[in-house]
C-alpha cells in the first residue's frame, strides 16, 4: 500500500501547483461564464436565465459609452505609445552618450503603479491645481487647460498618462529589436548611400516587424484591461465620460451588486480580449510553422 503513495506523492507535489493554477484558470472562467447566464443579483444563484444579464448589460448606457471609449482609448494609447517608443528607440540607437541614463529615465514609469501614475497626472491636469493654474500664475490669466473636467476631452488625459507609463516599455522592446539587426545590413545600406531615414524605414522597420506586432498586442491587451488608471484619475467621470469596460464590470459587481450582469460584462471583456489574442495566436503559429519549414 505504501508503494503507490510513495511513488505518487512526489509527483503530486511537483504537479499540484500547476494543477491548481490550471484549475483556477479554467474553473473560474467557467464559473463566471455560468453566472452570466443566471439571474444572480446580490448573491450568486445557479438557475438558468439565458441571455437576460447580457441584454441588461448591453442596454445600459455605461456599456455603450465604455466600448466607444475603449475604441478611442486603444487607438490613441496604442498608436502614440508605439510611435513614441519607436522614436525613442531610434534616438537612443544613435551611439549617444549617457545611453543608460536616458534609458533609465524613459523606462522608470513602468515600475510605478497606475494608481501613483494616475494620482500624479490628475493633479497636473486638475485646472485649479496643476498646469492651468501654473500658467495663470505666470501671468497668462485666461489660459485654459481643463480637459480632465471636460466630458469631451477627459478621456484624452487618461490616454496621455497611459502613454507616459507605457512608452518606455515600447522603446525597450524596439531597441532590443534594432540591436538584433544584422550589422552587415546597416553597413551595406551605408555603402549604398542610404540615409538614416531610408535605413530605419526600409531596413530596420521591416526587420523589427515581428517585435512591433508583439508590442501592439501587449499594449492592446493592456488597454482592454485598463482599470486602475481610470479609478485614480477620474473615477469614470465627469459623469460617465471616461468609462471603460473593466470599470463597467466592477461597477456592476460591487457598486450595484448585480453579480449576473457583472459576470456578463466580464465575459464581454474577455471576448474583446480574444478578438485581439486569437489572431495573434494564429499568426504566432503560422510564423513558427514557417520557421520550421525554413529550417528543414
Amino acid at each position: 500500500m505504501t508503494r503507490p503513495i510513495g511513488r505518487y506523492l512526489p509527483l503530486l507535489v511537483i504537479w499540484l501547483p500547476l494543477l491548481i493554477n490550471a484549475a483556477h484558470v479554467v474553473g473560474f472562467t467557467a464559473w463566471t461564464t455560468w453566472l452570466s447566464f443566471t439571474p444572480s443579483d446580490l448573491l450568486p444563484e445557479y438557475d438558468w436565465a439565458g441571455l437576460r444579464s447580457y441584454r441588461g448589460v448591453l442596454r445600459t448606457e455605461n456599456t455603450e459609452v465604455a466600448y466607444i471609449n475603449l475604441l478611442i482609448y486603444s487607438v490613441g494609447f496604442v498608436g502614440l505609445t508605439t510611435v513614441v517608443g519607436f522614436v525613442l528607440a531610434v534616438l537612443i540607437d544613435q551611439r549617444i552618450r549617457a545611453e543608460n541614463l536616458f534609458r533609465t529615465i524613459y523606462l522608470y514609469p513602468l515600475a510605478v503603479s497606475f494608481v501613483v501614475t494616475g494620482t500624479a497626472w490628475s493633479w497636473l491636469f486638475n485646472p485649479g491645481l496643476g498646469i492651468q493654474k501654473f500658467v495663470r500664475t505666470l501671468g497668462w490669466s485666461d489660459f485654459r487647460f481643463d480637459w480632465i473636467t471636460d466630458r469631451d476631452f477627459a478621456l484624452y488625459t487618461i490616454v496621455f498618462a497611459a502613454v507616459w507609463h507605457g512608452a518606455g516599455f515600447a522603446m525597450a522592446l524596439f531597441l532590443a529589436g534594432l540591436r538584433s539587426i544584422d550589422p552587415d545590413l546597416a553597413k551595406a545600406a551605408q555603402i549604398d548611400g542610404a540615409g538614416p531615414v531610408r535605413y530605419y524605414l526600409r531596413i530596420a522597420a521591416p526587420g523589427i516587424a515581428p517585435i512591433a506586432i508583439s508590442v501592439l498586442v501587449i499594449l492592446l491587451q493592456f488597454a482592454i484591461k485598463t482599470f486602475d488608471l481610470v479609478r485614480a484619475m477620474t473615477g469614470g467621470g465627469p459623469g460617465i465620460a471616461t468609462m471603460l469596460p473593466a470599470v463597467v464590470v466592477y461597477d456592476f459587481m460591487f457598486q450595484r451588486g448585480q453579480l449576473g450582469r457583472g459576470s456578463a460584462a466580464a465575459v464581454l471583456l474577455l471576448l474583446s480580449l480574444l478578438v485581439v489574442l486569437l489572431p495573434y495566436y494564429a499568426y504566432a503559429q503560422w510564423r513558427a510553422r514557417r520557421d520550421r519549414a525554413a529550417n528543414d
Binding site: F28, S113, G130, K133, D228, G262, L269
Partner: protein, 285 residues
C-alpha cells in the same frame, strides 16, 4: 546604428532631453510638493519650488495623516503590502521554478495542454476571477485578510513564473541533463545539482517582476480587503478620494504617494538590468 546628421547632434540631444523632462515631470512635481505646505500649494499650483522645506509632510504621511478615518498615516498599509508581497513573491517564484523545470525538462503526456492553460492565465482578465475568488475566500474563511491576497497572487503568479522559468530552462543543454541521468540523478537531485545553480539570473528577473507586479496591484486589494487590511495602492485611492475639506493636504499626499512608489522604484534603479531582461524575455519569446 547609422549616425543621424552629424552636425545635428545637438538637436538629437535636445530631443532626448525634452523627452527626459516629460518623463521626469510628474516625479519632480511630486517630490517638490512633498516638501511644500498645503497653503503654499493652494496659493500657487502643484508646480513650484518649495519656499521652506516642510519635512513635517513626511512625518505626517508616514504615521499621522488620516486615511479613511484612521489617523496613522500610510505606514500600516505599507506594512500590509510588505506582508503581502514578500511571501507571495517568494512562493510564486519557488513554485514556478519547480513547475518550469518540470514542464521544460521532464516531458509527460499532456504537458503541452497543461502548460497552454497555465499560460492563458497570464492573459485572463482579473475581472473573470473576482466573484469566484470572493466565494472561495469566503468558504476558506479568508475574507478580508492579507493571507487571502497572498493566496491569490501565489496561485495567479504561477502562470508568469512558470512561463519565465520554462523559457529559460529550455536553454539548458540536453547533454547536461542526460549526463545527470546517466549518473543516476533523479528529479530532485538534477534540480538541485544542475538546474538551480544555473538559475540565479532568471530567479532574480522573476522575483523583480513579481515584486513589482504584486506591489502595484490594485483591483484585488480594493475588492477583497477593507479598512486596515488594505494594501498601499488601495489606501492611496482612499487618500485622494477623501472628501475635500477646506484645504486638501497635497503636500502630505505627495509624500504618501512617494512612499508608496519607493519600493518598486528602488528595485527598478538597483535591478534595472534584470528589469530589462525580464521585459524582453517575457515579451519576445
Amino acid at each position: 546604428m547609422i549616425d543621424v546628421m552629424r552636425p545635428g547632434r545637438w538637436l538629437l540631444y535636445a530631443v532626448l532631453a525634452a523627452f527626459a523632462v516629460f518623463f521626469l515631470l510628474p516625479l519632480a512635481v511630486v517630490i517638490l510638493n512633498s516638501f511644500r505646505t498645503a497653503q503654499e500649494i493652494a496659493r500657487s499650483s502643484v508646480i513650484g519650488w518649495p519656499a521652506t522645506l516642510a519635512w513635517q509632510n513626511w512625518v505626517q504621511a508616514w504615521s499621522g495623516y488620516c486615511i479613511a478615518q484612521r489617523c496613522e498615516g500610510i505606514q500600516p498599509y505599507m506594512v500590509n503590502s510588505f506582508l503581502l508581497v514578500i511571501p507571495a513573491t517568494l512562493l510564486s517564484t519557488a513554485l514556478g521554478a519547480v513547475a518550469g523545470y518540470s514542464v521544460s525538462l521532464w516531458r509527460f503526456r499532456g504537458d503541452n495542454v497543461l502548460f497552454a492553460i497555465v499560460v492563458m492565465g497570464v492573459f485572463l482578465p482579473e475581472q473573470m476571477k473576482l466573484i469566484p475568488w470572493a466565494l472561495v475566500l469566503r468558504d476558506l474563511g479568508l475574507s478580508n485578510t492579507i493571507t487571502a491576497l497572498v493566496l491569490i497572487h501565489t496561485v495567479q503568479g504561477i502562470s508568469f513564473t512558470t512561463l519565465f522559468c520554462r523559457n529559460y530552462f529550455l536553454g539548458i543543454p540536453q547533454d547536461l541533463m542526460k549526463a545527470a541521468r546517466v549518473d543516476g540523478a533523479g528529479y530532485f537531485r538534477t534540480f538541485w545539482r544542475i538546474v538551480l545553480p544555473l538559475s540565479p539570473p532568471i530567479l532574480i528577473v522573476t522575483v523583480i517582476w513579481q515584486f513589482t507586479g504584486i506591489w502595484n496591484e490594485f483591483l484585488y486589494g480594493v475588492t477583497f480587503t477593507t479598512g486596515e487590511q488594505q494594501p498601499v495602492t488601495a489606501a492611496l485611492i482612499a487618500i485622494s478620494t477623501t472628501p475635500a475639506t477646506d484645504l486638501v493636504e497635497y503636500g502630505i499626499q505627495s509624500a504618501a504617494v512617494l512612499l508608496a512608489a519607493l519600493p518598486t522604484l528602488l528595485v527598478y534603479f538597483f535591478g534595472g538590468r534584470y528589469f530589462m531582461r525580464g521585459l524582453t524575455a517575457g515579451a519576445i519569446k
